[in-house]
């Protein structure tokens, strides 16, 4: 289990123990974290699972694929250097304690 803190658009913080191998979107939606839509269920085609990764720790994540980068150009909220699609980030031990912030809007 990897403890991840999600900051909802309202500012509320929710800590979830994400199973290794699950992606950050799956754990968030199943637990009803507000603000992640994930219309395509993680197929990397909808850009509605946008999150901001704690900038300090961004470099610890495997880099985004070309598809993810292209989709990130079309996210609804502001795209920042630390923008990622949460369905493309898998939980593993090294992410323990990561803070991800969910933007105001996804669609």
């Amino acid at each position: 289990m990897v403890a991840i803190t999600y900051v909802e658009p309202s500012g509320s913080k929710v800590e979830i123990n994400v199973k290794e191998g699950w992606n950050l979107m799956q754990a968030a939606v199943a637990n009803g974290v507000e603000g992640i839509v994930a219309e395509c269920g993680g197929s990397c085609v909808c850009a509605t699972c946008h999150v901001y990764i704690d900038p300090e720790r961004l470099a610890e994540l495997p880099p985004p694929s070309e598809d993810e980068l292209e989709l990130l150009e079309d996210v609804k909220a502001e795209r920042k250097p630390n923008s990622r699609l949460s369905c493309q980030v898998k939980a593993n031990e090294s992410l323990l304690g990561l803070i991800v912030t969910i933007p105001e809007c996804q669609t």
Binding site: A30, N31, G32, G42, V45, E73
Partner: protein, 414 residues
């Protein structure tokens, strides 16, 4: 309807039903909300069932869209394993399989659709359709079994589900044959050249295609094999026969209750049915367009948008579903994305070489862009979703001009 004595019943705990329930809550509905589903699970994502999930054996719970406890916190009561057997619009009640009667002040029908089957295919372990988590689990097991025993598999129907399962099965190294009755794959959705491209793709990956082949029946053999008999007298034996030949909308409850149906529950663009206080959303519906034509869409986007419209309609707010329809399919790691509906197109233009490195086909009807099919071209697809039906849509000449940068149109559409 905002009083706390109000009760909205949502029948069908799939993508559309869940969206309707959550939209009701997030839009200020304070009464009770009940979500009844006949499957034993909380709402889950279906698209992965024919894609990565089949071969990667990921944890089933990773498919969950919303856990029961998350719904509870929102004040949505989820009842799994509960079939609604009948509805009565006059008494505003519904009969549940456990014999109880549920009263409602508003009703959302989100019952989805059921795969068509072929005669003789009901009782064999070797013959399957793919709709539910249970189906997918059984199919995943069969695929492993066939891989071990060296038995071939046959997929009847060259639609998205069949093609995706074929690609997944090839990944496991299985002997796969796709049988399509029409003259080409995906005939109803793709232009002929893109159909051809997909046929070539499948052949190049070692899948056999029988195009224009009519199946007469399927005959179970022993406990776990089946023979597919063709109209021309041929027959083939397999360890798994998957039929992916389309679905039948689940409109039975509505029809018996006197709600207008026509191969689906007929709804307007705000998801209202022919009966007040009863709305419907998702695969169970057929939408009447302003010009009287009817369309049926079977997609996640349609389920989500209609679920939202339906909930708002019950709250007396009009939120027509007007977004550009979109859909996707993954086969052999190649991503097909469709924006708009290409039916009725008179001109098409390709951007990019037709290779796996990415291209799109732009469909025009009377000089207007109506749809774009993109293969490994995510940016084209996202652009298409924004501009189709707007003044920012490119002209035929712009699409033909390889030097014209289509992405400059994005700012125009913003």
């Amino acid at each position: 309807m905002t009083g706390s004595d109000q009760h909205i019943l949502v029948i069908g705990a799939g993508q559309a039903g869940l969206q309707a329930a959550e939209t009701l809550r997030s839009n200020g509905f304070e009464g009770r909300i009940s979500l009844y589903g006949d499957e034993p699970y909380a709402p889950y994502h279906r698209p992965p069932l024919s894609k990565a999930w089949l071969t990667e054996k990921i944890d089933e719970r990773q498919l969950t869209i919303r856990d029961i406890s998350a719904l509870e916190r929102k004040g949505i009561l989820l009842r799994t394993g509960s079939v609604i057997e009948a509805i009565d619009p006059h008494a505003r009640s519904a009969r549940v399989s456990d014999g109880s009667l549920v009263h409602w002040s508003g009703l959302v029908l989100a019952t989805g659709a059921t795969p068509r089957r072929l005669p003789g295919s009901e009782s064999s372990k070797a013959v399957h359709v793919l709709r539910s988590r249970r189906d997918a689990t059984e199919i995943a097991e069969r695929l492993q079994h066939c891989a071990r025993e060296g038995r071939p598999i046959i997929i009847i129907g060259g639609g998205f589900i069949g093609l995706e399962v074929a690609a997944s099965a090839r990944k496991l190294g299985l002997d796969v044959t796709i049988v399509e009755a029409a003259s080409r794959l995906l005939e109803r959705v793709l232009s002929s050249d893109l159909s051809q491209w997909y046929a070539d793709l499948h052949r190049s990956r070692g899948t056999k295609l029988l195009i224009g082949a009519q199946v007469s029946n399927i005959e179970p053999v022993g406990p776990d094999q089946a023979i597919v008999h063709f109209a021309d007298g041929r027959s083939v034996q397999a360890g798994l026969v998957l039929t992916g030949i389309g679905v039948i909308p689940n409109d039975g409850l509505a029809r018996k209750a006197g709600i207008e149906c026509d191969n689906g529950i007929v709804v307007d663009d705000c998801c209202r049915t022919s009966v007040p206080n009863i709305v419907a959303a998702g695969d169970c519906t057929v939408r009447r367009l302003p010009d009287g034509a009817k369309i049926r869409l079977e997609s996640v986007q349609n389920a989500v948008e209609q679920g939202r419209s339906a909930a708002l309609a019950l709250l007396g707010k009009e939120k027509p579903f007007t977004e550009t329809p979109w859909f996707w399919s993954d086969q052999y790691g190649i991503k097909l994305q469709i924006a708009g509906l290409s039916h009725g197109a008179d001109t098409w233009v390709r951007r990019g070489e037709s290779s796996e490195s990415g291209f799109s086909i732009f469909h025009f009807k009377q000089d207007r862009l109506i749809a774009v099919d993109s293969v490994n071209a995510v940016k084209d697809h996202m652009l298409a979703r924004r501009v189709i039906g707007t003044s920012a849509a490119p002209t035929i000449e712009q699409v033909q001009d390889a030097r014209f940068d289509l992405f400059t149109l994005r700012s125009k559409s913003a």
